[in-house]
């Protein structure tokens, strides 16, 4: 169990070794992005305040800094400890505008905005898009998705839960905007998986 944190303890719970800790987490994310749908075990020592999950915190601490804006969903934004923790450990400014977020942290997938509401990038600069970090509970159960595209030899099955509402249609629309579109990092307890915008998703039959 994660020890409960005292009110002033946002100063704690970061990487014990930010250099090698961040490197290990990044390689895990990179491999997950390069081979979409694979479940990559992630190991780190972060202890963020609840309700932010440790995996989400590790991703934020690895990728976010003063040059990246973070959008927080209502459940995270409402928690002053989470906001302070992110501010202290990343230095990233929080934005209320989903369509201007470099990173979006989604703690409550059931209540998240549409994928189209986030920054999509432009045809000239498709990199100017939001990367969404979703706190999923499972990467081994849930709706079975059949994946294909770059990083996937033939096809690959991914299950995760919970799944955003109307996900199949939303993801198809995201793919139709290519090279614009958002990329997803699915942050589960102890593991991550990614869905870059280049991945095509089909719901498996049965």
């Amino acid at each position: 169990m994660q020890p409960s944190l005292r009110p002033e303890s946002f100063l704690e719970g970061g990487f014990a070794d930010p250099v090698l800790g961040g490197q290990a987490v990044f390689r895990c994310i990179m491999q997950a992005m390069a081979e979409p749908g694979t479940v990559q075990p992630i190991s780190h020592d972060l202890q963020p305040p609840e309700p932010m999950t440790a995996t989400m915190a590790a991703i934020a601490a690895t990728l976010c800094d003063a040059d990246t804006s973070i959008w927080l969903d209502a459940t995270l934004a409402a928690n002053a400890q989470v906001v302070k923790w992110l501010g202290f450990h990343t230095g990233a400014p929080v934005t209320p505008r989903a369509d201007q977020a470099t990173f979006a942290l989604v703690g409550d997938i059931g209540a998240m905005p549409a994928l189209a509401d986030f920054a999509q990038g432009t045809d000239s600069y498709p990199d100017r898009s939001s990367t969404l970090v979703l706190a999923v509970e499972h990467l081994d159960r849930g709706m079975a998705l059949d994946l294909s595209g770059p990083g996937i030899r033939d096809s690959r099955t991914l299950r995760f839960a919970p799944v955003p509402s109307d996900f199949i249609a939303q993801w198809a629309a995201n793919g139709a905007r290519f090279p614009r579109g958002v990329d997803l990092i699915l942050a589960a307890p102890g593991a991550v998986a990614c869905l870059p915008r280049s991945t095509r998703v089909r719901q498996e039959e049965g």
Partner: protein, 298 residues
């Protein structure tokens, strides 16, 4: 300013008292890591990044070095090649740089490496899943020689206006009877982005297609990073009546007898003696150790 003439040599340099792991500061690594993830998500698209000063001049692979420095960790085994060889000044210097700044294991064996930084070649030994190939790229924009303006090439990529590239290749055919481009031969990545494979010989282009390894490209002076994920379609631009073909060699390697590899011409003596040998020294040594032999004729 003449930085090119002043070669750096980490074998001779005094140990630096304090440097970050892999030299780069953490903020720079994060910025490059974010660019790498975007590059992977949009295969073949050139992601702009703020290139950092490295303790070596441009032309020594600073883009590739920055990419390697941003991904490498203590568990990695690094191989560095220059034109296929592990033992050129450039390859040795970069290998020593990472040995000095990270302490990681290094190797010359393609099969043992988790990260391979390369200038101008893809190893002959097939790459495997989990490996990362980092290319040093001088000119990342395949359209640059046809259109010097960055705003224009960016729009051409956005609109998939690649007709000018086909016109250029077709002019080759009209003039030479075949496509004369033999290095940096442009490729189409996953049917969307025309991409520069870096100045590798076109012999290596087919190795990029459906490669099990992740391919990352770093251009330091031009400040671009791009990527080709594993298992991605990479096709060389061509025409129905002039299909793409790799260079063919009319003889096998003089040292190991391989007839399916890229060969370099080596001058043997001042009487003009020469022979053709594998440009991939690790591949050639491995074959010789396995008992393969060439004719060693001069």
């Amino acid at each position: 300013m003449n930085t090119e003439a002043r070669a750096f040599d980490w074998a001779e340099a005094p140990a630096i008292a304090t440097y970050n792991f892999a030299y780069l500061d953490e903020q720079s690594k994060r910025m490059i890591r974010r660019a790498i993830l975007k590059g992977i998500a949009v295969p073949g698209y050139q992601v702009p990044f703020a290139s950092r000063e490295m303790p070596m001049p441009y032309g020594w692979g600073t883009g590739g070095v920055q990419v390697t420095a941003s991904i490498i960790g203590p568990d990695d085994t690094l191989k560095v090649i220059d034109q296929g060889a592990d033992d050129t000044t450039n390859a040795i210097s970069i290998r020593k740089f990472f040995q000095r700044t990270t302490g990681v294991r290094t190797t010359t064996a393609t099969t043992e490496a988790s990260i391979i930084q390369t200038r101008h070649r893809i190893p002959e030994t097939p790459l495997t899943a989990g490996q990362v190939l980092v290319y040093q790229v001088p000119i990342p924009e395949p359209l640059r020689f046809l259109e010097p303006r960055e705003t224009e090439t960016r729009t051409m990529h956005a609109l998939e206006e690649y007709g000018v590239m086909h016109v250029k290749l077709y002019e080759d055919i009209a003039r030479h009877g075949h496509i004369a481009t033999t290095y940096a031969y442009p490729v189409m990545v996953q049917g969307r982005y025309v991409t520069d494979p870096s100045p590798t010989p076109k012999f290596d282009n087919p190795k990029m297609d459906q490669c099990p390894a992740l391919q990352l490209f770093g251009a330091g002076r031009e400040m671009r990073i791009y990527a080709i994920p594993p298992w991605t379609e990479v096709t060389s631009l061509d025409f129905e009546d002039h299909p793409f073909a790799v260079q063919a060699f009319d003889r096998p390697c003089a040292l190991c007898g391989a007839d399916d590899v890229f060969l370099d011409e080596v001058i043997m003596d001042d009487q003009g003696g020469r022979m053709f040998v594998c440009s991939d020294t690790d591949h050639c040594n491995g074959r010789q150790q396995a008992g393969h032999a060439g004719e060693q004729e001069t």
